[in-house]
Amino acid sequence: MRSPSPAAWIRRALPTRRRALAAAAAVVVVVLLAAGVAGTLRPAEPDLRTEAALITVRSGPTGDEPVELDTTLYLPPAAAADAPVPAVLLGHGFGGTKESVRADAEEFADRGYAVLTWTARGFGRSGGQIHLDHPDYEVRDAQRLLDWLAARPEVVTDATGDPRVGVVGGSYGGALALLLAAQDQRVDAIVPMITWNDLARSFLPEQSGEGPEQGVFKKGWAGLFFGSGGNPGPAPLGGSGPAGGLAPGGGSVPGGSLPENAATTAGAVDPSCGRFAPDVCAAYLRIATTGRADPDAVALLRRSSPAGKLDRVEAPTLLVQGAADTLFPLTEADANAREIAATGTPVQVAWFTGGHDGGDGPKTDRDRVRHLTARWLDHYVKGEGPAPADDFTFSRIAGFDALNRGLVASGFRATGYPGVGGTGRQPVSVSGPAQAIANPPAGNPAAISSVPFAGELSSLLDGVAGDIPGQHARFESAPLPAAVDVVGAPTVSIRAASPTGTAVLFVKLYDVAGDGAATLPNGLVAPIRLEGLPAAVEDAEPVTVTLPAIVRRIEAGHRLRVVVATSDQAYATPVEPAVYSVALASGAVTLPTVASEPIPTDAVVWRWVLAGLIATIVVGLVVVVAVLRRRHQRRESRVHPEYAGVPLAVRELRKEYADGFVAVSNVDFEVHPGQVVGLLGPNGAGKTTTLRVLMGLTQPTAGEVYVFGHRLVPGAPVLSRIGALVEGPGFLPHLSGQDNLTAYWRATGRPWADAHFDEALEIAGLGTSVHRKVRTYSHGMRQRLAIAQAMLGLPQLLVLDEPTDGLDPPQIAEMRRVLRRYATDGRAVLVSSHLLAEVEQTCTHAVVVTKGQIVASGPVEEIVGESPSVLLEVTDPVAAREVLDRLAGVSVLPDGDGQLVVDTNGTARSEVVAELVRAGIGVDRVVPRRRLEDAFLALVGENSRGSGDR
């Protein structure tokens, strides 16, 4: 079986490859299966109904000006006249349309709300002009939509004409929600997001406590706002509301998807005002021209502001505001919250890390806002779920998400809304001399702190935000000894002097890292306009500046830097050049902090899952090992009494391979001490398979093998009493012969003294070649080394498969002697061979196998002993046959080629020869036949001879 026929080789090789392929396939299947399970858990597309309609509502100061509003109603599948559902009125951001909030509407509808979206007047296909959430126009429009909702049979009503409804919106839609709730008590709950409290303050902020009349015009944002309303353009402002999910806003609407816009519905358009109402337009033009707001303009903006009207809000309010928002900063939500809470209406505030600058924020933030919104509406509108706890939640950018290449925000919660002042205050000393700074003419060049509506890109500005040399003063702190979590608006007190008596300044708070990199959190600045200033800074009164509210951890070792600059790209500054002097009034920045706790996320759960997983694996491993050990010990210590002294007993062995090939059908023999047993058979007879089972390499299909009474299974300890050479040598090619033997013995873990290396090496007879690498060995040398390896430790049963393969005749002779000698002292040897002569000369006993079955067995002398048949070579075979046929008892066996095989059957050979000679037939040769050969030929058959001999 050393070089089996190609067919056998393929048969053996194929299943292995197939199995390897199957294993690879199984791996892929497991992965896909896991993926598939996850796939089925995904929600199916919601089966929503939508109804788009142009609804004409009557509003205006007198309530009789008709205007067409472009609406879409989303109805959940369950909504019906007999099963009405609560409703959500969903407003869009400035410059957007009802399409901007489609995704959010679908998600609310999916949660079981009837959702009405509409395009506000002055936008998209809706008629009318932009009045900036005017109580008589936009807000009254929304009231008429409430009427319309109440008339829908699918919508639950609290009373006739009073729908059960929550109002949600971001930015422009958020202010509308506040104003609507103030104006109409039918609203049951509102969730205004990233919106304003006082529009005048938002566009004309002043952080030293003055009103919008003194404010510094936020020209960047205002221009964008006005531009997007004037030209029905593509980008909805404030459209980047929080959460692509439940929160309104959504993505920008491509310009091409608004085929019919202002030009057709509003008729002729004033090119300077677009679709703005004339009064709004005029106010903007006045402010933008002078950079200052007159009382009329302030009044107009205040008219569109929730400020001052919120004491009428009775609907529970969830205020969502973004920290990355230079348009409507956190202080706007703070003002809204205070006003609403003053009347006892439930208010909660949630800050997230996005905003008009920061967009939707990281996924964790979007999910949080989505969750809060849904919980709010479910409780106060639908009447499901507990009352939301956590009066105040906020989040902080916690770092980068390595996988999604985005930011990660971690959430925190607190009971009781602390406001932007925080629950605690920590002063940090800053210092620096009084500095002179120049106001550039016409505000150019200007420092860049933020780029309006740059979205998440603005976070990249952190690195480039630059102050112009000569135009700013710096005051720095020492490195912080410990990290500070700032939540709210820090304050700082400064003094300023100006030769003109007035100054516009921008106060900023930088976080300066150890390597000098300065970050302006979210690009937020505090503009101040000071008047009545002295010419010398020593004479100036201290001015307390409220810096923008931020959520940020200032790491230990970082410094705080207060910068007072004269210009900012985003604001309108005085045109005339001037030089101001700036100094610190008190030497400290006060940092607000909030006592809060982290909101537990699923990350905590995963940590437990990991710990549980590892614990399970460890416990599982221990249990499996213990069980297997016990089972082995029990099985191994059992001894079959009948075979206790027998080195090898094979009982009814059968081996069927996976492909159905029966290699061994029934093999039954014993090897006793002192015997050298030859397993004789042609290739494919099943010899090697039998030996494989003997070595514990293969599991038998049926039958048992006993070694000294111990049942032999793969890995049975009793295998240690067997030395083997099966299917040729197997060595590490890169090691020398000696190292291979050493490595092998080391692997047995048995004492060195038991190995008997010298004897083994002597048997191998490799001389100095034993130190060469096995790779360089000839076939015969490897064979001898393999036999030596099998004899290491002098095992009591030596099993050799074709041991003389590759040996030259003297070595074969020597090997025979070695084997005979080995089978003493209670030891035994089992040799397999397809060569008759070898078995005959080497073995004391023989077992002849063919086609998986034993055909003969017994002592060699008995088998090889002279047989009654004789082979005759005669001159005339035909005549000889006649002569022999006449002899009583003698029969001629069928054979050919001038030779006769004769069964003498007791008749003496001399008699047969004499009879032939008498008949005149010449006898050339008389060869006595032997039994083993007969048996071998008769049983093995002619057909195997070709492959058996080599």
């Binding site: 996850a38 390595a402 070595m695 000294f708 300890p717 099966v726 197997g730 692997a747 000698r821």
Partner: protein, 300 residues
Amino acid sequence: MMAQTTVEPNAGDSGGTPSGAAAGYRPFATLPLRAEFRRQASRRRTQLALGFMVLLPLIILIAFQFGSGDDDNGRGEFGSLVEFATSGGLNFTLFTLFVSASFLLVVVVALFCGDTVASEASWGSLRYLLAVPVPRARLLAVKLLVALTYSALALLLLAGTALLLGTLRYGWEPLRSTVAAQLEPGEGLLRLLAVLGYLAVVLLVVAGLAVLLSVSTDAALGAVGGAVLLWILSSILDQITALGVLRAFLPTHYSTAWLGLLSTPIQTDDVVRGAISAISYATLFWGLAFWRFTRKDVVS
């Protein structure tokens, strides 16, 4: 007949133990770890692989000496790892890991783990080990442990050499990146160790896959190549965002989560999920490998 000079009776080999084993044979003393270490250490591919781990940082270092290249910072936030590669020993080490983690280390681990059983099978020495007999579970466990140790050694050699060379050349500087505040060298070293630990855990999946293939085929190259191939397949699938949440189940999905360990504060959420994923897959693959190897017919 020759005199009995070469073969002497051995009284100790009469099999007095209850299990019938030869004297001195204990199943749990077979194939000691030390023996397997030496078996593998003597192999050229072990020496070459470990040698390359030492050589690679040197090659990178020499490459950096060839002056200024073009700035192609198109790698997002973590591009800073490339920008700052020469700013200190820690940064140099991180860069070396950054460029090796996605492929080189995968190949090295697949080599150590995929080759271990399959090569013995192809040499034919596996059947002699099993005939010792080394219990199959023990054989696989020892081979797995040793392969894992060599994999860990490779990882440590790579990082250690890079750290040594980088520190000698660029100094013991704080760890810099744009995703985090500057980390002091001591803190940076801890982060580096955490990164190494996470990389080791992620690579367990490769080890599991390679071992499973190793016991399923006699071709060492097939096991190594197969493991790398499946890893690449998983990486490619992970690039297809259309797969949505399915991607989280891919064994390679969290393979770059170690970058989160560099940010301030440390981002461990994905690291934890990645560890769960890797340990689950590795346990599954190893379980299958043991199941298979303890039952299969060794016919090689």
